[in-house]
């Protein structure tokens, strides 16, 4: 009895610190306010700047200054108006082609028993590791004025510049994004429905049109909407292969960089924002329905496909994979060949970059991407944790702000940053830090969504157990939640890193005389006629991203979790 009393007094000496708990009360509101302010200041404020620049004389917000002059000018100038029609034409064409190609590709991956599926799945994801310019560079090498196929194989004058080139390169760029959606949809829909229909006497064609297609319709629309959004907002491919064929994204760049017409650039941004926002909302609305349809029921084994079906799908998948491999092979080979396509001897000379940026641009890109990776993964994890488990006030508002960046084209965001922050008192303007912030904000949506879905996998009782034992928010996060999220954290890190290494549109307005980035260097090199070096720069980016992905694979294997794929 004496001993237990003694013990009681010892343990009772150590109490949860009241001061710490008082302090803890401010953590959740502080983080919430911080995230809210971050998104307001670095997303809404730049958008607001674009709005005022386009709707008000001189960008000065006041009722007297309101004007539609910019829009009038835009819609009455044939050249700029054409950009809208061009963009819509290219985007619709790409959307239709990608949706059809990828539907059958995803179908082959989920509903047939062809061999080599893991290989095909990896190949289709390849375009994610390179800037959306690699397709255009390769196509020019293959089908350009001096293309190895057009000029030297077929001896034709036809070349790929213009709408055709943009559409083909965008198709090859959008494949992985659309694939992820349709693959998820098709693997989620119960294959037993097909079997049931077949057993009731439906022909394979009828099963396909009456069961398979309708059950995947949300996925199809969602993939289409995403493709449309990606294409209409892409800048890298059209600027290289478009030649005189201007689209909205290239027109914004031309107005701002060549003509210093920030007002018109802002106006075109608004015009670009409308269709991309619509496509985003459609996608958002549809993808909610898609997830409602996904059932947790165990999937039976796919019945063996008939030989003809197997052969035709295998050939089909090879064709799609071959085009992607061809793109990457051309760019990588092109960076080592002396003079494409005349002198095929191998050389490293293109890796002696003739521009000011050169290797320092790669280095800058690398460390900026590391910071973006760690910072982005950390902020989205903290934000996801606070919103998902601590349920602060204004949760819905913060959530809305968090999904908005996905709807805003990078180019528009970048222009907004110039308009908003090009003031002497924003000391981060013109430094790498504005680039870091812009890339994090541009990719905030996917980061936070994947953080939240990961946090939902952690038993809420674990959090409560910590609290009941006296754990405050900070220690609960760092001692329990963070260690339990480390694989997801690393996945997010690689995602942010990859986006940061490959993005062009978000940062093209933000590079300066002192800050060079590898992805932008590609455009600069290509512009100045150093196409082979542009390819070399591309190759460097691809290699760095692949190394990082390889590390992710190792980490995931070590922690015993299966690969979640690139996206």
């Amino acid at each position: 009895m004496n001993k237990t009393q003694n013990e009681n007094s010892i343990i009772e000496q150590y109490q949860i610190s009241s001061a710490r708990m008082e302090f803890d009360k401010f953590i959740v509101p502080t983080v919430t306010i911080f995230i809210g302010l971050l998104l307001c200041f670095f997303m809404l404020f730049p958008l607001w700047s674009i709005l005022t620049m386009s709707f008000f004389k001189g960008g000065e917000f006041s009722l007297l200054n309101f004007t539609l002059q910019n829009f009038h000018k835009y819609f009455t100038t044939a050249h700029t108006l054409n950009a809208l029609w061009h963009s819509l034409y290219v985007s619709f064409a790409t959307t239709i082609i990608v949706t059809i190609i990828i539907f059958f590709f995803a179908y082959a991956m989920t509903r047939t028993t062809i061999s080599g599926k893991p290989f095909f799945r990896n190949i289709i994801m390849m375009p994610l590791v390179a800037p959306s310019i690699v397709q255009a560079l390769a196509l020019i090498y293959l089908f350009g004025r001096n293309g190895v196929i057009t000029a030297h194989f077929l001896h034709t004058d036809w070349n790929i510049y213009g709408a055709t080139g943009i559409i083909i390169s965008e198709v090859l760029y959008c494949l992985p994004h659309a694939f992820v959606i349709l693959y998820t949809t098709l693997s989620a829909v119960d294959i037993r429905l097909d079997e049931a229909a077949e057993s009731l006497g439906a022909t394979p064609f009828k099963v396909f049109t009456r069961i398979t297609l309708p059950s995947a319709k949300y996925g199809i629309f969602s993939a289409a909407a995403l493709t449309f959004n990606l294409t209409i907002t892409d800048f890298g491919n059209p600027v290289v292969i478009g030649a005189d064929y201007n689209v909205l994204a290239t027109e914004i760049y031309a107005q701002v960089t060549n003509l210093y017409r920030f007002d018109l650039g802002a106006t075109i941004s608004i015009i670009l924002l409308v269709p991309s926002l619509m496509a985003f909302m459609l996608n958002y609305y549809i993808s909610r329905k898609t997830f409602a349809m996904i059932s947790g029921a165990a999937k039976p084994v796919i019945p063996p496909s008939r030989p003809l079906k197997k052969i035709s799908y295998t050939i089909y998948c090879w064709l799609v994979s071959f085009s992607i491999i061809l793109i990457f092979a051309t760019v990588i080979l092109g960076s080592f060949v002396k003079i494409w396509p005349y002198d095929w001897s191998l050389t490293f000379q293109h890796y002696k970059f003739p521009s000011i940026g050169g290797y320092s641009a790669i280095w800058t890109s690398f460390w900026i991407s590391m910071i973006v990776g760690v910072g982005g993964a950390f902020i989205t994890l903290v934000a996801g944790y606070i919103m998902e488990t601590r349920k602060p006030y204004f949760k819905q508002l913060i959530y809305l702000l968090s999904v908005m960046p996905a709807a805003i084209p990078g180019l528009v965001m970048g222009l907004g940053y110039i308009l908003a922050f090009n003031k002497p008192y924003y000391i981060f303007y013109g430094t790498p830090w504005i680039i870091v912030i812009c890339i994090i904000i541009c990719n905030f949506t996917l980061g936070i969504l994947s953080s939240i879905s990961n946090l939902r996998n952690i038993d809420p009782s674990i959090e409560e157990a910590s609290i009941s034992l006296g754990g405050d928010t900070i220690r609960t996060f760092f001692k329990i939640i963070f260690p339990l999220s480390r694989v997801a954290f690393f996945q997010n890190f690689v995602y942010f890193f990859m986006r940061s290494m490959t993005t062009i549109s978000a940062v093209i307005f933000l590079v300066s005389a002192t800050v060079h980035l590898a992805a932008i260097e590609i455009i600069m090199l290509d512009n100045d006629g150093w196409t082979a070096s542009a390819n070399a720069m591309c190759t460097c980016i691809i290699v760095l991203v692949l190394i990082m992905l390889g590390l992710l694979q190792i980490v995931q294997k070590k922690t015993g979790k299966s690969s979640a794929g690139l996206a």
Binding site: E7, E12, M21, S468
Partner: protein, 362 residues
């Protein structure tokens, strides 16, 4: 040492749904209280309000003569054991148990001492370096117990702690929990939907339904004197006979049962509950001369189920399936076969009389 915990008309509503409906209860220091009820009856919500994870819509929770409605969970010093164990998967057994003490900035040597003591208490000495994933469910729950007891909680709250375990381990851990509570003299609040658990563990059982307390009493009282027909059905097993009152007897089809304490109940229509083990077999468990003749019925044994120590015999009583339980020994003596005739006797004092019949939970 534990102090008095008082729930004063606590209430919790979610929109129009009333989860907890003005519940009041005094819990004595050192008492073992079980909240028992079907899922959705509000028992877990009450537990979560005591822990501080749920806010109260109205009412007060008083601990040690202080209202603690607004005290944050960290400062309540209540230990909680969860159904899912909720051990920290990234920490060893040792680190799990030490977590609460670390949060209190206790010096490492004292923590080590306390952890060793806890390991001994939960009988897991030698397992301190293992991770939760390397332990069985029963071991994990013992670690969870040790972890919550390490901080010397004022009250220990357990939310269906055994539901996720196998039947055998469940019974064994029950004994562990009971022994711990008696040794430490700690107030223990236990939530379960398993009546056997509640009856075998608690000093007092609180029966809940639809957010309200339906009966509070010792396991003995609850079982012997269920206040409502719902409790008679939910706790243990009961046969129900619905009939009409007539001349101090209850008329049920062709039968007229003599029932004790019938006058305490108002109304014409009554519902009788009788536990299967309280029904006797004439000339087997009771000699015929002790029987009130109106309550003896001859029936045909339709189904005989061997349950181990007891044998359950089902028969039709005026078209209603009725069961009686007799000991396996008595059954063996009888040599009864399916379809055999038996004489059953319903003692007048075996009936509980209710005016309302609960809606059957399907």
């Amino acid at each position: 040492m534990s102090k008095m915990l008082i729930l004063e008309e606590i209430r919790k509503t979610y929109g129009s749904l009333v989860a907890v409906d003005d519940v009041s209860l005094d819990i004595e220091p050192g008492e073992f209280v079980c909240f028992l009820g079907p899922s959705g009856c509000g028992k877990t919500t009450i537990l979560r309000m005591i822990t501080g994870f749920e806010t109260l819509t109205s009412g007060n929770i008083v601990y040690d003569e202080k209202i603690i409605n607004d005290v944050i969970p960290q400062k309540r010093e209540f230990g909680i054991v969860f159904q899912s164990y909720a051990l920290f998967p990234n920490m060893t057994v040792n680190e799990n148990i030490a977590f609460g003490l670390k949060m209190r900035k206790m010096p490492q040597d004292l923590i080590d001492e306390r952890v060793i003591e806890m390991l001994k208490l939960i009988d897991l000495t030698g397992w301190e370096g293992h991770y939760p994933s390397q332990l069985s469910g029963g071991q994990q729950q013992r670690v969870a117990l040790g972890r919550s007891l390490a901080i010397k909680p004022n009250i220990l709250l357990l939310d269906e702690p055994l539901s996720a375990l196998d039947a055998k381990i469940r019974v064994r851990l029950r004994t562990v929990i009971k022994k711990l509570q008696q040794e430490l003299g700690i107030t223990l609040i236990y939530v379960t939907h398993d009546q056997e658990e509640a009856l075998s563990l608690a000093d007092r059982v609180v029966i809940m339904r639809d957010g309200q307390i339906r009966q509070v009493g010792s396991p003995w009282e609850i079982y012997k004197e269920p206040k409502t027909s719902f409790i008679a059905e939910f706790v243990g097993t009961s046969n129900f006979i619905s009939g009409t009152k007539k001349d101090g007897k209850v008329k049920f089809g062709q039968l007229e049962f003599t029932v004790l304490n019938l006058d305490d109940v108002e109304g014409e229509n009554v519902h009788l509950a009788v536990r299967p083990e309280n029904v006797e077999l004439v000339d087997v468990t009771i000699s015929s001369e002790h029987c009130v003749s109106s309550n003896v019925v001859e029936v045909v044994a339709e189904v005989i189920t061997f349950l181990g120590a007891v044998v359950r015999i089902a028969f039709f009583l005026e078209g209603e399936t009725t069961i009686i339980d007799i000991s396996e020994k008595d059954f063996e003596k009888m040599g009864l076969k399916r379809g055999g005739k038996i004489k059953v006797y319903f003692p007048p004092d075996a009936f509980h009389v209710y005016t309302e019949l609960f809606k059957k939970l399907v």
